[in-house]
Symmetry: C3
Subunit: 268 residues, 3 copies
Amino acid sequence: MTELAKFAAETLEKVKRKKPVIHSITNFVVMNSTANVLLALGASPIMAHAMEEMEDIAAISNALIINMGTLSKPWIQSMNAAARLARIVSKPYVLDPVGSGATRFRTQTAHELIRYAPPTVIRGNASEIMSLSSQGAQTRGVDSTHSVDDAIGASTQVARNLKTVIAVTGEKDLITDGYRSFMVSGGHPWMAAVTGTGCAATVIVGAFLAVEKDATLAAASALAFFKLVAERAIEGASGPGSFWVNVLDQIYAITPLEVERHARIELV
Amino acid sequence: MTELAKFAAETLEKVKRKKPVIHSITNFVVMNSTANVLLALGASPIMAHAMEEMEDIAAISNALIINMGTLSKPWIQSMNAAARLARIVSKPYVLDPVGSGATRFRTQTAHELIRYAPPTVIRGNASEIMSLSSQGAQTRGVDSTHSVDDAIGASTQVARNLKTVIAVTGEKDLITDGYRSFMVSGGHPWMAAVTGTGCAATVIVGAFLAVEKDATLAAASALAFFKLVAERAIEGASGPGSFWVNVLDQIYAITPLEVERHARIELV
Amino acid sequence: MTELAKFAAETLEKVKRKKPVIHSITNFVVMNSTANVLLALGASPIMAHAMEEMEDIAAISNALIINMGTLSKPWIQSMNAAARLARIVSKPYVLDPVGSGATRFRTQTAHELIRYAPPTVIRGNASEIMSLSSQGAQTRGVDSTHSVDDAIGASTQVARNLKTVIAVTGEKDLITDGYRSFMVSGGHPWMAAVTGTGCAATVIVGAFLAVEKDATLAAASALAFFKLVAERAIEGASGPGSFWVNVLDQIYAITPLEVERHARIELV
């Protein structure tokens, strides 16, 4: 659908023009890589987790990302505070429930965060999203043991119940608000051979949300852009190391026009 | 010795087939790079340090890595808990005593961890391993000030006393259980110009231990594989930046057959 | 001015020969990248923040870096202790006031650190340095919203008041002790498209200070070297990902002779 690709292109263009400040409370593994993703995209990352500065940062940032990897108790308090502040000032907030379903601590924290301040978008792999539904799901680790197709029912249910957008990423991506659903295709299997590519998807969703009010379309646009990045990044890559270097180069290089021509989003 | 290289090749093949989940409690500097090493190898990393999830993670992971870099008190409690849980469920556990010998805090913590739950393998540089013996050793920083040859006596002593496997890495690597000793050669000096290459060796040892019960041979196989990676990674590298990119590419690319043909392990 | 470039070349040569141990208390985002910068340069990084080992590390390190990114209360205590210890043993200490001016927590912490133990050098972007002067300054995030020229007055004032060296980095760099001022030119705009390049500048300043007593000249030399690195790193780069790989390669590769010939420092 050309209209959706065009929308994605326009949203990318707005990110590059407005350079939104994205506040991330994220895990230690991906702090460097996701900061680089945001800078390559033209956004401005700010990583901060101290309670003492949550209010000041809420005042200067345009979107919030909460990522539950390498979770610990002291960080949950800041996550809750930041999420609540985002809701108060009507700022978009993306939750990445890393490891939900893998341990009770992560599953409970995801449920607590969602109850405390419903996210604008929840971006996870199939296992993580399924763990948020009433049926729940058990995962072997932080890598998904389910396919995106397995998660369609749970995604619709969770999206409707929470009045939020669910973005499930994998071989293909599903984005749904429980009523409208989009499927994004493209990408490359090597995305699974590099750490933090899901977390990278999350921050790109955050940057797109910061400049576009329709959260469902913003999330679909962001993920279509990132799938295109992965496709392009394979050129000249000889393994996951050089692939990731190319991913950063492509996030920087791909133009709105290329997104309009090549992004693959469809209404399902 | 062809038999040893063949064993290493078979163990690599098992890692790729079984995709073991490796629980890492590691330092902030290398969380990203070692997660990428494990993914490139075909294993599944999980980084977690909260007491609240130590039990759940012990239940889903196939090996444990404890790395003492960027150490602080709250993490030691989780390290002890995870190590004890690994012993209880007979899961292999590798200790990387980063900075032992450099500060009393690190040396004492290494001794405490070892006393509390003896590791399956201890992987360190010569200075770190020497600091664990009864003679002790003082280091200038986290980089070794001793050669692997300096550490042969201490390695044998510590291995016998603790009934553990000692793996000392450097220009060449020594792996010993106090009775059988192996020497691994190959590699490249640029390994010392990149941060976390010792920590990378540690997680590879963890992944090999997860699929092979003979810990001495598993550790020797892992280190022979990594030396071969370093040798290959030099092709096309023009400095430590591009060298590390190649290291990740080669971890992904090197096949069991290449390990069988080119790994250099000998009984000493 | 050839004499200044020659001085920079000689200082780089001393870093490579003496391999100083640099203690960093830095943020989670750049721990890996700045450790790699120091290793590529020929220095030896040690990252440690536990109060229990501050004294032992002060005894074995040749310079201290304190970086306020991803700040939290427990780390401030260690920063204060390390800074005070550095003053006591007359060891150079560089402060990187990341985010000062962006939140009150960061601004107050910067002022507290400076009051408690005046740094040898403060390295920041224009907005951060301006936030340290009596007029103050408000920033939108951690990226500068002011130019180096905006910060000339504040830099001179702060340098004189604190008897310290101020190094403001940006499109060009200003280094001043309030009496002597140097301007460094070169570099590349892609430095702003990679996370932690300011933090990288800070650790390079630390390494140069560890081997050269004239802090103003040491800082100017370090920044002139880093500008040259950026210029060289652009060759063959196709975006911020490959650019950063090249930066690490060039830090390793650039010789004192090349610095003597191409570094651009001038007295202003």
